[in-house]
């Protein structure tokens, strides 16, 4: 049987059309089923007690080890605030406070001084997720804001969008990187590495609905604050003893 070029192209066209349509029809219910399953709940909360923090930097070091964070990048860091009587505010965080702080001379009469550990706030309304053009950063079912490193194209929109500067560009993988609240540990029932090593209990983590964990109760009852509430991101990291000068 001899097929003309015209017939061949026609038949090929119909075949592609048919198989494509079939594929789409089969695929649609799969996708919609996935969309219907599960929902994102913010199951966890994190409390930072700035009245307890001693600025030892063990948390930042543990984070680097646990998550293989590249040098000079920080998923969590500690800021040392000094507020002078004349109202001048000094903030320092050498090497993210990872190697603690060197005793320095005060530049005047000190009114108050304290340490503020910082990390990703795992917001309920995260800017970073909303701006991601490729769906690489997302809110997991447990309420953690995560980065899909395979999907990320490294455009850095999320890094600009974060009001807390919690994100950075990973210089090795060339993708956005940030604190995951140690997602891999939490799912195994462990606490995040920073919480595990804090010698004074300045960092606490737990389920909001777990009566055995004080975190949920404290977040409901204690007089805690969040960073930059005016941004409307609804952070899930809560601070005790937060000074008005902390940004």
């Amino acid at each position: 049987m001899k097929t003309s070029r015209r017939d061949f192209l026609k038949q090929a066209g119909w075949t592609i059309l048919g198989s494509g349509l079939l594929g789409t029809v089969v695929q649609l219910p799969v996708r919609s089923a996935r969309a219907a399953s599960g929902s994102s709940e913010h199951l966890y909360g994190y409390i930072v007690d700035t009245t307890k923090c001693i600025g030892c930097g063990l948390c930042a070091g543990a984070c680097r080890k646990e998550n293989r964070v590249p040098e000079e990048c920080y998923r969590t860091w500690i800021e040392h605030y000094t507020i002078y009587l004349d109202g001048q505010v000094e903030v320092e965080s050498p090497q993210g406070g990872e190697n603690s702080f060197a005793p320095t001379e005060a530049k005047g009469k000190v009114d108050r001084s304290f340490f503020v550990p910082k990390l990703c706030n795992h917001c309920k309304e995260p800017n970073c997720v909303q701006v991601c053009p490729v769906g690489a950063t997302y809110v997991s079912r447990e309420g953690m804001v995560l980065v899909d490193q395979k999907q990320c194209v490294g455009c850095a929109y999320c890094i600009q969008a974060c009001p807390y500067s919690a994100r950075f560009m990973n210089p090795v993988l060339h993708v956005a990187d940030k604190c995951t609240w140690c997602y891999h540990r939490v799912l195994k029932g462990l606490k995040p590495a920073c919480v595990t090593v804090c010698p004074v209990g300045a960092r606490q983590f737990g389920r909001l609905d777990d009566p055995g964990s004080p975190v949920g109760r404290l977040i409901k009852e204690a007089r805690l604050q969040v960073l930059k509430p005016e941004m409307g991101n609804e952070p899930m990291v809560f601070y005790n003893g937060l000074d008005k000068e902390v940004r």
Binding site: I54, C56, P103, R141, L190
Partner: protein, 215 residues
């Protein structure tokens, strides 16, 4: 008329072909589990990423993992001021007796390691015992430790001024302070000191007694 319809059909056919081509390409390019998982604003992602992130190995194990085997150290630790300071804060990471490099963990017992928490810093909460480098604590207590315990490795008979930087000569906090229970050995020192003073007093008493007895 018929000619016109065939033109329109050709256009429609082309459009359909394009659409099908798009869907076929899309099914190759878009990862398998990509889609809306729970919300259109925040939950549009590749579902397999959850599992990939969760598969990351854990390095820190928490104090509970240590206490089962290290019962003796744990008992001391629970009694002292460092109770509640997690094992891995000082000992480093450990899983079944090995650190992340597969070696036995070596605790950093340098002065610098202690000073991470105990250096006198502006803004450090007052409840934390703080030591300024070479402050009277070191000058007096080291001398005192030497007198009562004779445990200090460096030559303490010289005065502090003569010795200069005693830390540089290998003197470490842990020589007097048990890191598990910082005040434990100090109690021993105090008892030894009391015992020594008692003996000394007895000695002088005996001397006076013997002196008095002499005619």
């Amino acid at each position: 008329m018929l000619n016109q319809i065939s033109h329109i059909l050709k256009a429609i056919g082309l459009l359909l072909l394009g659409a099908v081509g798009f869907f076929i390409l899309r099914s190759f390019i878009v990862p398998d589990s990509f889609g809306v998982q729970h919300s259109y604003i925040y939950g549009y992602y590749r579902e397999a990423s959850d599992g990939e992130l969760a598969a990351q190995p854990t390095i820190y194990q928490g104090s509970e993992a240590c206490l089962g085997c290290h019962a003796v150290a744990a008992a001391t630790w629970k009694e002292g001021k460092h109770a509640g300071v997690p094992c891995e804060s000082c000992h480093g990471t450990c899983r079944a007796g090995r650190n992340e490099a597969g070696q036995k963990p070596v605790s950093d017992s340098s002065v610098a390691a202690c000073m991470k928490c105990h250096a006198a810093l502006r803004g450090r909460p007052v409840g934390i015992h703080q030591v300024a480098a070479l402050d009277p604590h070191v000058q007096e207590k080291v001398k005192w430790g030497c007198q009562v315990g004779s445990l200090v490795a460096v030559d303490n008979r010289k005065s502090v001024k003569e010795k200069g930087d005693i830390f540089a000569q290998g003197l470490r906090c842990v020589l007097c302070h048990d890191a598990h229970h910082p005040l434990l050995r100090l109690k021993e020192f105090a008892m030894q000191k009391a015992e020594r003073e008692r003996l000394q007093r007895q000695g002088t008493d005996n001397a006076t007694l013997s002196n008095g007895e002499k005619p």
